[in-house]
């Protein structure tokens, strides 16, 4: 005949649940911190401002190469269409960087009046600056 020690089981189960919940809490915190630190929001803002400042100081005929490797990595990880990652609106003179699908992006305005074309080449973003009527 098997005798179950019901009274003795209870503290072990409670301890296991307690430890599991604690570990889950700390894992959640760590995941949140690491995701925030390497997150798209930080890169979106950094790229939008970097590109806008480069365009502010640019002259027609220039080709600017920006290292976009971290941006591509984040966009790929989040399954964002790379064609949507960096957009230049020549009407409103703004750079829009979006590394998360369906969540919009960060927009930053530049004051140069040029015709801007962008394309991605492997890990680089190539920006061609042309005259407005070109």
């Amino acid at each position: 005949m098997i005798i179950k020690n019901k009274k003795g089981d209870a503290p072990i189960i409670e301890t296991v649940i307690f430890i599991t919940l604690n570990v889950a809490f700390f894992v959640l915190f760590l995941v949140f911190i690491f995701r925030s630190a390497a997150g798209a929001v930080v890169y979106e803002q950094a790229y939008a401002k970097q590109i806008a400042l480069l365009l502010d100081g640019a002259k027609p005929g220039m080709a600017i190469v920006v290292n976009f490797e971290p941006g591509i990595r984040i966009a790929d990880k989040n399954k964002q269409n790379l064609d949507e990652a960096v957009k230049i609106n020549n009407e409103t003179n703004s750079v829009i960087v979006s590394l998360l699908p369906g969540k919009g992006g960060v927009s930053y305005q530049f004051f140069s009046d040029y015709n801007i074309q962008t394309r991605l080449d492997k890990t680089s973003l190539i920006i061609n600056v042309g005259e407005k009527n070109e």
Binding site: N22, F25, V41, N93, G104, Y108
Partner: protein, 170 residues
């Protein structure tokens, strides 16, 4: 002693402490990573530098500056719309003679209130006020076959903050 009851209270208290710590960490991380990278001063510096470079050439002020309908926007490759009312940018070009008198009327673009705001912000360090940069350059200028010395002063300001867009449409 009611040991079981004490343990239960302790675990509830423990999770409360963890929740408070967690809230602190989440709030701290969100505040840190959502902070604005302030590039307004760099932007103002780029604008003033661009204007100085496009209206001067090899130490001489370009003669076009004194033409009646001088269009700074087309000469310097600046977008006129961006400098229209409610603009995030501002610039003022002043040309002084050797005695410090204005040589020609100031050329102004963008939100003119920035100049006052920048002066106020210099003393108190206001966060939401625009950032300005002034560039001075001594130049020469041909007038009636004579070479005159003039002082060029370009003040540029920016108060642009990051804008979050919900729909990507170009």
């Amino acid at each position: 002693m009611n040991k079981k009851g004490t343990e239960k209270i302790l675990s509830v208290w423990w999770f409360f402490v963890i929740a408070v710590i967690g809230f602190g960490i989440v709030a701290g991380v969100l505040i840190y990573y959502s902070a604005e990278a302030d590039v307004r001063e760099v932007e103002a510096d780029v604008l003033s530098g661009k204007i100085v470079n496009c209206i001067s050439e090899q130490g001489f002020l370009k003669n076009d500056v004194f033409v009646k309908n001088f269009d700074i926007y087309s000469v310097c490759g600046l977008d006129k719309e961006v400098f229209s009312s409610g603009s995030n940018f501002y610039f003022r070009i002043s040309v002084f003679d050797e005695t410090g008198k204005l040589f020609r009327e100031n050329i102004i673009g963008g939100d003119a209130s920035f100049e006052k705001d920048c002066k106020i912000a210099t003393g108190i360090g206001a966060k939401r006020f625009p950032k300005c940069v002034t560039k001075n350059k001594s130049l020469f200028f041909f007038v009636e076959g004579e070479i005159k010395k003039i002082n060029l002063e370009v003040l540029a300001g920016s108060n642009q903050i990051t804008r979050k867009v919900l729909v990507i449409g170009v």
